[in-house]
Symmetry: C2
Subunit: 396 residues, 2 copies
């Protein structure tokens, strides 16, 4: 049973349970095997790396520090938002790895060190948004921007700082818990500290960067964002919340029922801009995403994309049960099991399909190298080759 088959409250509780389990998990996964390896090392080999024992102590302390931070996050979620924690739940590795990845996610979105990396997309997006906003000012308020896959919330914070009404959408409860904390817990500049790099042991030039403590956030969230009504986060799959009511099969992430159909009808043509940032390759079927962007954008609206094409599902063996609703009887017709993988379009093919969906290509750029939470060190992880494009939805 996936986390999306159970109630939202239960799923959130399970995620908080996984958050709380980080300390034990990380010690077991990252610290203890290394201590065992060090202790069992041939005495003559130990002399070659005498500093390793001290490194292990620092690694342990860093894990405990991270665990303390997550404790504060879960306390906030529990007390301020009323989410009950599923204490006794069995936490699987998949969920734990998502918790671990939260630290590089926080570094990527909220550290001053990663501003340079964030600017690779922002420096391309913001001039276009500013120009669009100034030439297409609406009488009824600020530009309305939708950011699917908003993660821990940074992109909508950036949009709000520009004065736009910003809606983030997120499918992952792990991300949702963290974005609620970051955006709503009244943080000031540098008020939090984490060790984001301790979970990887490859690619290092030296040990110092791996053990670097990072202070987040890089600006005063409390002063800048509190009291604004420009910001919203919706929970659920992008296609489910913002897609059209036709041309998409029902599935675990697209529900055909009256409630969702009304929701989807209401959001039609409601956004001036959709920003997909490291997002489109999360799709099981990217055509569903294209149809959804087409549906939610108003005619004349912009789709701005930045990111690589590393299809998350390309090696996924799972299937999804897909269905239709019979138009006359209203009964659900079970379709067959459809593989999660299978429609991974190339850059050129995405542009071409979008053109058929009434998008006009305004700008495109390929081969932009960008990290994704790359450490502040030239010998860090290799970057992604990203594509950037801007398309305008034609008036019919």
């Amino acid at each position: 049973m996936s986390e999306y088959d159970i109630s939202e409250t239960e799923a959130l509780g399970n995620v908080l349970c996984a958050y709380r389990n980080y300390g034990n998990y990380a010690l077991r996964e990252y610290y203890e095997p290394r201590l065992a390896k060090w202790e069992a090392l041939h005495p003559s080999q130990r002399k070659l790396i005498p500093y390793y024992e001290e490194f292990l102590e620092m690694l342990q302390a860093a894990i405990l520090h991270n665990a303390k931070f997550l404790r504060v996050v879960t306390d906030f979620a529990e007390q301020m938002m009323g989410i009950p924690i599923g204490e006794s739940k069995v936490v699987n590795r998949f969920s734990m790895d998502k918790v671990v990845s939260m630290f590089s996610q926080l570094y990527r979105e909220w550290s001053p060190e990663a501003q340079k990396e964030r600017n690779i997309s922002l420096d391309r997006m913001l001039p276009i948004l500013r120009n669009f906003s100034s030439t297409e000012v609406k009488a009824d308020g600020p530009l309305s921007v939708l950011v699917p896959g908003v993660g821990t919330g940074r992109m909508i914070a950036d949009m709000v700082n520009e004065g736009y009404f910003s809606e983030g959408n997120e499918y992952s409860y792990h991300m949702l818990v963290m974005s609620m904390y970051m955006l709503n817990s009244g943080q000031s500049k540098g008020s939090l500290s984490i060790y984001p790099f301790i979970h990887t042991n490859s690619h290092w030039k030296d040990r110092q960067t791996m053990l670097k403590q990072v202070k987040i956030p890089d600006f005063d969230i409390c002063a800048k964002l509190s009291g604004t009504n420009l910001m919203r986060i919706s929970m659920g799959s992008f296609v489910d919340c913002f897609g059209p009511n036709q041309n998409i099969w029902g599935s675990s992430h697209y529900h055909i029922n009256q409630e969702m159909q009304i929701t989807r009808l209401e959001v039609q043509s409601s956004k001036d801009v959709v920003v997909t940032n490291f997002f489109i390759d999360t799709s099981s079927n990217i055509l569903d995403y294209l149809l959804t962007i087409q549906h939610v954008l108003r005619p004349g609206g912009l789709w701005i994309n930045f990111g690589p094409l590393v299809y998350h599902q390309e090696n996924e063996d799972e299937t999804d049960i897909c269905y239709e609703i019979d138009q006359f009887s209203g009964l659900r017709t079970d379709h067959k099991k459809i593989p999660m993988k299978g429609i991974e379009l190339t850059f050129d093919e995405i542009i071409e399909a979008a053109t058929k969906l009434n998008f006009e290509l305004l700008q495109q750029e390929d081969n932009i190298i960008s990290g994704y939470g790359e450490p502040p060190d030239q010998n860090g992880m290799p970057g992604y080759r990203c594509a950037f494009w801007v398309m305008k939805l034609r008036h019919k």
Copy 2:
């Protein structure tokens, strides 16, 4: 039971069986789910990508073409080298994925398109080898070069073409079967063709490159290498075959017995040069590798390294049973289970440990971007950040 706990003949037979299973596996893994996805696609969505059906036909044909190539390889191994094929063996996914990776490996090592990538390391290594060879000419023959992790054999072919006596060492039977075929089956330039890129669906700018057929090898192996006695491949773990007889624990990849001890004694100080090319990060304990390089090099010999630090075992949960032999009784003392992961040194730490082992650093370079079988397309996979260094083993 790992493939290394059974007899060499049986292990080779199992690998041939996996090779023969490629067609079925690749159809099931890469083709069939995509066909199912395409066939189940909403009719309106199909119109957005009408070429997809033809792509799937080409994908199927490419898989069958690759399977035919592997059939020739296994026939050669069976008939010319007398390896019996384990027909009825259950082939696991791990083994099948290694077979699939063979195609990008062949592309990387033997295609004319990848010469540019091979040159990133060769252009650094060859001038040093030529200079070393000309200033340290030995009376008793050509320069003797050892290449651990030789893969399908290209690096030793390059060394032989330079006139050096070249020994490749390889731990993987999957690689060994292919290197035997490439080096010994009398291939001329471009005599073979493969589809190396069909197994990945990410990162593509267009569909053409993914479906590109590549001709290998890029030079006339038969004419250039046959009849030479400059080339050898040894099978086994690098540490087992070339390491010292002390300061390393016994394990599944380092056997403490009379036969191996004699072998290791014989190879001491036997090589002029060790070339580690995309190799050192395969170690479970890189200190074992350093000790082995120190042992097998003659004083004054060179260690040349090129490659990234992407420790293959860093997320491995397995342990290895390690042991010592009691010096007086000669009995095996079981040591404890030691994690495979746990000693992942940084660039700086490797250099420092090598210095303690009597190596002198002659040259170093960091942050060299190189692919590893990158397609001939700027929008391919992101590269690795590689390090290059040259060290000289001091005279004691």
